[in-house]
Amino acid sequence: MTVLAGVNSKIVKNGDPAPAPPAAGTIRIYNMRFCPWAQRALIYASVKNIPSDVINVHLQEKPDWYFSKHYKGQVPTLEHDEGKKHVIESAVIPEYLDDIYPETRILPTDPYEKVQQKLLLDRISGQVSPAFYGVVQAVKNPDLREEKFADIKKAYDNAEQLLTGDFYSGTSKPGFVDYLLYPNIQRAYWAAHIVPDFPLEAESFPGPNYPRLSKWYKALESIPEVAAASQPTENGVGFFKDYLGGSPNYDYGL
């Protein structure tokens, strides 16, 4: 049973009233079901078993009140302490959750190991994420295809090389980097179902050129707490098709 309530609730948008503050002992995560950055916070809360209330926000017709939660109007935002505390930024929220719920800590305690996990996430994400959005551009502008496809291959070559064991945590279990990187990789998996001649394969994704990553992806995908915080392939692919067509449906599949 998932600790995430409302992960598939209908989107709130401009004109909708502000929600009541979260109850004591509950954290709230402002989300969009298909946003890979917000998914990081959901996955981390799920794996840490933190009772969480999820509210999905329309990213093109944001409610005015939402800017009092997040000055940029982005997701995710963590709200807790009965609405008195707000934390933003997808790589910052998880570390904060480890700080306030130390009994289920995921990041290493050793300062050097901890900082290396944070830097590793920055490094890999800093490559795979822009490469993915480059592919999105290439779908709209075929002249860019050769360049953007080469970029994503390079990003995944690098991700494969940096995976020296089963997980990026460097241990026998997934860790901070694994959980937070997964959403970005999942997005490329969705793209592999849609984009013609995509250099990453949908079957045994990302394919035989990335043996460790393929095993890694399968392992992460199979974790119940990760699955509970993620959208299934059919919803993801469906949303992505609409998104590429310029008409994202934030409530796709509901």
Binding site: Y71, P111, Y112, R123
Partner: protein, 254 residues
């Protein structure tokens, strides 16, 4: 007496031999004298009184061996444990230094207060750094300058409104945000001497339009540990002039 040794050493470049590993208990910071990001690490080490050895890198002719310290070839890089530990990224190194030297911790211990300091730094930096960069790159194209000035003024208005007390730490002493954002303000201060048409004055910088910031800048500039980690105005302004002429500037003033 400064704990920073070698802050004004000559910059190493392609062909120069790698330095020997730092001796036990020695912290080394790879820097460039006029780099605001590297200055963050220097200021933090200085304020925390960590005996540090500074090695400057020529960022236009980087030694090949430097990429084994920082895969991006950027500064700052922190090296310690006899060269076995390397940490990069200018906002990450200071937090790491607080973790391994907790007795001189600058960040708050409370998780929420700590995370808010990190987010505030990111918010200020996200506006100041690109705004400065735009002006600096437009220096050779005077017709473009005035529109770039607008983003600087906007960034300063935001910085003034976010400064609620004497310091961004929210206490009576400077903190994490104050020390790490200072280099960005100093760079704009240097601009005031370079451009006659610059919209902010040198005297009592940034001027009467920003009363809290003017008091703040004066206070931070006057801190000996900050001064010890920073270049003088004459060196800073001089280095910018050399840069504008396309001349090497890393060793300006030595």
């Amino acid at each position: 007496m400064s704990v920073l040794e070698g802050i004004n050493s000559k910059a190493l470049k392609t062909g120069d031999l790698p330095p020997p590993s730092p001796s036990p208990n020695t912290f080394r910071i790879y820097s460039m004298r006029f780099c605001p990001a590297a200055q963050r690490a220097l200021i933090y080490a200085s304020v925390k009184k960590i005996p540090s050895e500074v090695i400057n890198i020529n960022l236009q002719q980087k030694p090949d061996w430097y990429f084994t310290k920082n895969y991006k070839g950027q500064v700052p890089t922190l090296e310690h444990a006899e060269g076995k530990k390397l940490v990069i990224e200018s906002a990450v190194i200071p937090e790491y230094l607080d973790d391994i030297f907790p007795e001189t911790k600058i960040l708050p211990s409370d998780p929420y207060e700590k995370v808010q300091q990190k987010l505030l730094l990111e918010r200020l930096s996200d506006q100041l750094t690109p705004a400065f960069g735009r002006v600096f790159r437009a220096i050779k194209n005077p017709e473009e300058l005035k529109e770039k000035f607008e983003s600087i003024l906007k960034a300063f208005e935001e910085a003034e409104s976010l400064l609620e007390g004497a310091f961004y730490s929210g206490t009576s002493s400077p903190g994490f945000v104050d020390y790490l954002i200072y280099p960005s303000f100093q760079r704009v201060y240097w601009l005031t001497f370079l451009l006659e048409i610059f919209p902010l004055p040198s005297d009592n910088f940034p001027g009467p339009g920003y009363p809290k910031l003017s008091q703040w800048f004066k206070a931070i500039t006057a801190i000996p540990e900050v001064a010890a980690a920073s270049q003088s105005t004459e060196n800073g302004v001089g280095s910018c002039k050399e840069y504008m002429k396309g001349l090497p500037y890393f060793d300006y003033g030595l």
